[in-house]
């Protein structure tokens, strides 16, 4: 049994190279298909990754500790005083890299030109930069600088917003919001600096000021809206959430991971992933026809010798098996070539990045940034191997049955 499998695999292999050009065309087209497939998957992974990573590092954080109800109703009443004890617990957790207090509230910004609804973030400038990337996003030099003093009457706004409101660094703006007593308060702040994050909608909407400044203006005292946490790696999030839930027993608090804070983002990433596989299964059905066509031509050319094989006692099943082996050889060679080329090129692109700045504006809307670093996952390689081999086998089915049914006598007459 094993020996006869070997001989048909060998005959299939040698037959493959009888018409080198034809086989190479099929192999090349398979390899290209696989490359296109893996590259798009890699770009998709990279984009998803960057979208999530950017969202996390602009404002979301990996994990947030808040008062119950804050997630759905961002009012100042849903705030709490961070206790010393809580900070101690956080400092003790392994894999928890940094944490920072924040106030988040709705408000309005007004310049002499226009006014806009904004999300006001009260941050502790020192701790904030260990959790989010706002310091990195702050533009340098003439664009001013990052916040330095938690008590100062300074404000950090995006370049987009500055343009819309016709503001320059050093200008005064008025920020309006409700204080804890639900009275409307207005305060004049100086534009300390400008930032630009990879997410367009974020830039249009978020302004930063010092935490203590905001606490004073709202009458919140030492209360805050959330503690935002960064862990050492995104993979650790669930584990750290689990640990936090086990060690923080205050029933007023809720501990949320980024997936829980941005369920739509998480869902979008998962759906993109699945869509990719379906998309490629469809693309690869076109490969089915090219393989089937090649095999049928190959069988027609070898009509006579298949007749000889049958007349000396090769059973129809074995003839069919020979054709399947030939297809598998084709599939495996195409696969190895395709994956080899893809891994090399994608590894290179993952290093250099793909600059999509000509596409920049829409990229910024997606929140990925304009340089995409494609990332290949082993599950993508496994999935593509599976897709390629099953489609190849499917493609070979009809030619195999056709070959198995060849009548030896007719085939012998055919020279």
């Amino acid at each position: 049994m094993w020996a006869s499998i070997k001989i048909f695999a060998m005959i299939g292999w040698r037959n493959l190279w009888r018409n080198k050009r034809r086989s190479l065309v099929v192999i090349t087209s398979m390899a290209l298909g696989i490359f296109a497939m893996l590259l798009s998957m890699g770009i998709m992974n990279g984009m998803n990754n960057q979208m999530v990573e950017n969202t996390i590092s602009t404002s979301l954080g990996h994990i947030s500790i808040q008062r119950k109800g804050f997630q759905n109703d961002m009012k100042l009443q849903n705030s709490f005083v961070p206790s010393k004890e809580l900070k101690n617990i956080l400092s003790d957790i392994h894999d928890l890299k940094a944490f920072t207090p924040r106030i988040k509230m709705d408000g309005m910004i007004r310049s002499s030109e226009a006014s806009r609804g904004v999300l006001i973030m009260g941050i502790d400038p020192v701790h904030e930069k260990t959790v989010s990337k706002i310091l990195e996003y702050t533009l340098g030099e003439a664009a001013g600088s990052y916040l330095t003093d938690s008590e100062a009457s300074d404000i950090l706004i995006s370049k987009t917003l500055a343009d819309k409101l016709d503001l320059l660094v050093g200008d005064k703006v008025v920020l309006m919001f409700q204080n804890l007593q639900k009275e409307i308060v207005g305060t004049a702040l100086t534009v300390k600096g400008l930032y630009q994050s990879p997410i367009d909608s974020f830039d249009k909407y978020v302004v930063y000021t010092g935490l203590q400044n905001l606490q004073k203006l709202t009458g919140m005292g030492t209360k805050i809206s959330e503690i935002s946490i960064r862990v050492t790696h995104r993979k650790q999030v669930d584990k750290v959430v689990e640990e936090l839930r086990n060690s923080i027993h205050e029933p007023l608090f809720t501990i949320l991971s980024w997936k829980e804070m941005a369920p739509n983002l998480f869902r979008a990433v998962t759906i993109f992933d699945t869509m990719m596989y379906i998309f490629f299964a469809i693309i690869f059905t076109t490969v089915v026809f090219s393989i089937a066509n090649t095999l049928i031509m190959a069988i027609m050319e070898r009509f006579h010798e298949i007749g000889v094989m049958k007349s000396i006692g090769t059973s129809p099943n074995r003839i069919g098996a020979m054709v399947l082996f030939e297809a598998m050889n084709l599939g495996i060679v195409g696969l190895v070539a395709g994956i080899g080329v893809s891994v090399l090129i994608i590894a290179l692109l993952a290093y250099t990045g793909i600059d999509l700045s000509f596409y920049m504006e829409s990229m910024r809307t997606l929140g990925t940034g304009h340089i995409i670093y494609p990332a290949l996952k082993s599950k993508d390689i496994i999935a593509s191997t599976f897709i390629v081999l099953t489609t190849t086998l499917l493609a070979a089915l009809y030619p195999a049955v056709k070959a198995a049914r060849i009548k030896p006598l007719e085939a012998l007459h055919h020279i």
Partner: protein, 230 residues
């Protein structure tokens, strides 16, 4: 003991509504160890008869027995298996699997029979030596002459010690000398290994060297003579 028995075998071909009678009531017995030739003009039914005996074609009526097996009711799989184990075939030309070397072509039959590697190799080398091809063993068919290819085909036909070797004009594509050589070789195998040979031919030289000459005309056996000279 008869290794082949045909009783009242008819074969009609149908093309475009016309019925062409290729065999019209053939009765034939061939005993183990015979070295018999089928002769007759073109279109007389020689190839048809060999194909029917080999199970490549089915008679319209009549019974065919090879060894102890009646072919008429056998399934395709069973006939394929019979051809693998009991019958060796040699055709006029292009007998070999092009992607396999001479020895692999011979080994192929043993492989299908599930014989182990060591026996396969010994046996294949033995028969190739018997047909005088020890030097050409590892060459692919396209590097062999027509006569050498036919000898590989004969080697393949006899390698599994079948009951009978059927050969349809095995010398037709060979020159006089090469043909004579192939025939002498088959006769030697016939004598030494007691393999039964039945072949069709137009070649007077082949007819002369056969031990029995069966003459077909228009699908009927018109004469059947045993030659006694050596």
């Amino acid at each position: 003991m008869n290794i082949i028995e045909l009783e009242n075998v008819y074969k009609n071909y149908e093309t475009h509504g016309n019925i062409i009678p290729a065999l019209r009531g053939v009765n034939l017995q061939i005993a183990k160890g015979e070295f018999a030739a089928l002769a007759g003009p073109s279109g007389s039914g020689k190839t048809t008869l060999l194909n029917i005996i080999g199970g490549l074609d089915q008679p319209t009526s009549g019974s065919v027995t090879v060894g102890n097996t009646r072919l008429n009711q056998l399934s395709k799989k069973a006939i394929s298996d019979l051809r693998l184990r009991k019958i060796g075939f040699v055709f006029q030309a292009y007998n070999l699997i092009p992607v396999l070397t001479a020895i692999e072509n011979v080994e192929y039959v043993l492989l299908l029979q599930g014989i182990n590697k060591k026996d396969r190799l010994t046996r294949s080398k033995d028969v190739l030596r018997e047909v005088g091809l020890e030097k050409e063993m590892y060459r692919p068919p396209h590097e062999l002459s027509g006569g050498q290819q036919q000898r590989v085909a004969v080697a393949r036909a006899i390698v599994s010690s079948p009951d009978i070797v059927l050969a349809d004009e095995p010398t037709a594509n060979l020159d006089q000398k090469t043909g004579a050589h192939l025939l002498a070789m088959m006769r030697e195998l016939n004598l030494r290994e007691h393999i039964t040979f039945l072949f069709s031919t137009h070649d007077p030289m082949v007819m002369e060297h056969s031990k029995r000459l069966i003459n077909l005309i228009d699908g009927r056996i018109v004469s059947d003579e045993i030659h006694s000279k050596p």
